[in-house]
Symmetry: C2
Subunit: 324 residues, 2 copies
C-alpha cells in the first residue's frame, strides 16, 4: 500500500495557503489564494476549495490520491463543531460551517483546527518540536497567539479557547490595555504592536535621544530591533523589556504545562539569535531551576508553512483514528 | 471476577493518610500515621508501608485483595522515576525511591504522583469533577498549588513541574515576594499566608481602623474572613482583593488550558459561598465571554481525602494500563 498523502489549508485574514504533505511531514506542493473575506463567506468557502485543488494539481496529483484534508482558520470558532463563529480577522463572516462544506465538496475525512494550534502541531510534527513529547508555541506578530501540544494532543480546550497565550494576565498594578480590550495581557507587552507602541511612548518623552526619532509615525518592530542592533539605547531598552515580557510568558507556561520545549514563531523572530538569548537569560532568572535548565527555548523552523503543515498533521491524525 | 480494589496514600509534612478505595471511587477505609520526617527517610518509608497496611486492615481485607497501590507526596520529585528529590516539607529527606520501595515491600503495581496532582485526579474521578472532561484544581493553603487534568491525563509536565499554579507570575511592576523566593507569583497574592501578610501590612498603617487590630501577631486567614463577614471594612478589602487575585489565576488557566471546570480546595475554602461568588464575579470581568460564561467555578468535594483518593485513582489507571 502506498503511504497516504494529506492536504493542509491555512486560512489567514489576507491570503490562504494550501499544501500537499506526505506521511513524513514533507511538503510536496503549495498554493496561495487571496482570502477576500469582504466578498462574503460563500466566496471564502469557494476560495478554500480552490486553494486545495490548486495544491493538489501543483503536486501532479488528483483528489483521489488524497487521504484526508485539514483546515485551519483564525478564531473565534467552535473546533469540535467545525465552525468559524465571529472572526475579527475574517469580517463579515459569521457561523461558517467550514468543515462540513469542505467535506461535502471533496468527500474526504476533514479535520478543523485553530490556526495557531495548527502551527504548533506542524512544528511539533515536522519542525522544531519533532523530537520532543510536548511543546508550547508562541506566535509573535500583530498579536501574541499560541498552541500547546502534549503527546499527540492539541490542547484545544473545552470551549475552543485553549492556548490563547497572549491573553494570560501578567500585570495588575499598572496594566497596559490589550487589543482584546482587557488589561495586562501578555499580548499588550510582547507583540510587535506593543514594541512599536512602547517605542512611540518613549519617544514622546521630552529629551529622549534616539535614531528612531525620525521614524515616528511609521515605526515598525523591525526598525526598532535594527536600531537596537546598531546600538541605539532607547531601542535597546525596548527590545530588552520585550525579551523579559516574553520570558514571563514562557515561565508561566513552564510552571503550568512544563513542556519539553518553548518555541517562538512569527514576524518578530527576524530579531535573530541575540533576542532569543535574552529571552533565555530572563527565563533562567524567572523559572524554577529544573525547568529553567532543561526546557529547550528556540525559534520555529517551518516559517509561515507551519499552519498548513499542521493542518495536514490534523488531517493525518483524523485519518489514523478512522483507520483503527 | 470481583471488581479490583486500590490503596491510595497521601504523604504530608506532618501526617500521612492511606485509604482503600473501590473501583467506583468509594472509600472503604482510611488510616492516619505521623510522617515524622525528621526521623529520616528510612523511617518515613516504613511509616508509608505501615499506613498502607493499616488502611487494608481497617477495611477487613488482606494485601492480596488489593490490585494496585498509589502514593502521592509533596515535591520536589521526579515523577516518572518514582523518586522524591529534595522536598522542603519533608526535611531532611533526599532522593527517596518511594515507588521502588513500596513496590518491593508489597509486590503490587505501584503508581507515584505529586500530591496536588493526585488531589486534582481524586476530585476529577470521584469529587467535584466527576462529570467533566477536564479540570484545573487550585489548592489554597499556606501556599497555592494545583493540578491539571485533561481527559484521563494528569498533566505532570516534562520535568515534574506541571501545574505549579502558585508560581505563575501575575505582577511585574510592584511584585510581592513569594515563599519560593521569586517575585509576583500567584501564591504571593492568593495563599492564606498572603492574606495574613496583607492584613498585617494594612494594620501597620497609621490610623487604620479594624476589629483585627487586637489580633496582630496571631492573625489567621480564617479570622480575617470572619471579620469580613462581620463587616470589618479592612478585612472586607483584603478578602475582595484575594478573590480578584484568584480570579486572575483562574482566568490565566481558562485562556491556556480552557478546562470545563476550575475547582478550589484547601483551608481557605472555609470562607464559603460568598467568597466563591466574588471569584466568579471577577472571572466574568477578566475572561473572554465564552469561557467566562461556560467554565464551572466551584469548591472541591472530597476535602483532605482527595489526595489519597487521587493516589488510588493513579493506582487504578496503572492497573488498567497493565491489564490491556
Amino acid at each position: 500500500m502506498t503511504k497516504p498523502l494529506f492536504v493542509g489549508l491555512d486560512v489567514g485574514g489576507t491570503s490562504m495557503k494550501a499544501g500537499v504533505v506526505n506521511d513524513a511531514g514533507k511538503v510536496l506542493s503549495s498554493a496561495n489564494v487571496l482570502t477576500e473575506a469582504q466578498l462574503g463567506q460563500e466566496v471564502g468557502l469557494e476560495h478554500m476549495c480552490e486553494a486545495i485543488r490548486q495544491a493538489v494539481a501543483a503536486a501532479d496529483l488528483k483528489m483521489r490520491d488524497i487521504a484526508a484534508i485539514g483546515v485551519a482558520t483564525p478564531g473565534t470558532m467552535d473546533i469540535p463543531a467545525g465552525i468559524i463563529l465571529d472572526p475579527p480577522n475574517l469580517k463579515p463572516w459569521r457561523n461558517v460551517p467550514v468543515r462540513a462544506h469542505v467535506h461535502k465538496v471533496f468527500k474526504l475525512p476533514t479535520a478543523f483546527q485553530n490556526d495557531a494550534n495548527a502551527a504548533a502541531f506542524g512544528e511539533f510534527w515536522a519542525g522544531a518540536g519533532r523530537d520532543v513529547h510536548s511543546m508550547v508555541l508562541f506566535t509573535l506578530g500583530t498579536g501574541v497567539g499560541g498552541g500547546i501540544i502534549i503527546g499527540d494532543i492539541v490542547l484545544e480546550g473545552e470551549h475552543s479557547h485553549g492556548a490563547e497565550l497572549g491573553h494570560m494576565k501578567i500585570e495588575m498594578t499598572n496594566p497596559r490595555q490589550c487589543g482584546c480590550g482587557r488589561w495586562g495581557c501578555l499580548e499588550a507587552y510582547g507583540s510587535a504592536t506593543s514594541v512599536v507602541k512602547r517605542a512611540v511612548e518613549a519617544l514622546a518623552k521630552k529629551g529622549t535621544r534616539s535614531s528612531l526619532r525620525d521614524q515616528v509615525g511609521e515605526l515598525t518592530a523591525r526598525a526598532i530591533f535594527e536600531a537596537a542592533a546598531e546600538g541605539d539605547s532607547l531601542a535597546e531598552k525596548i527590545v530588552d523589556e520585550t525579551a523579559y515580557y516574553l520570558a514571563v510568558g514562557a515561565t508561566n507556561m513552564m510552571h503550568t504545562i512544563d513542556p519539553a520545549m518553548v518555541v517562538y514563531t512569527g514576524g518578530m523572530i527576524a530579531a535573530g539569535e541575540s533576542f532569543l538569548k535574552r529571552i533565555r537569560k530572563y527565563v533562567k532568572e524567572l523559572a524554577f531551576p529544573v525547568p529553567a535548565k532543561k526546557t529547550v527555548i528556540c525559534y520555529a523552523k517551518l516559517g509561515s508553512d507551519a499552519g498548513f503543515i499542521g493542518a495536514a498533521a490534523c488531517a493525518r491524525k483524523l485519518f489514523l483514528q478512522k483507520r483503527r
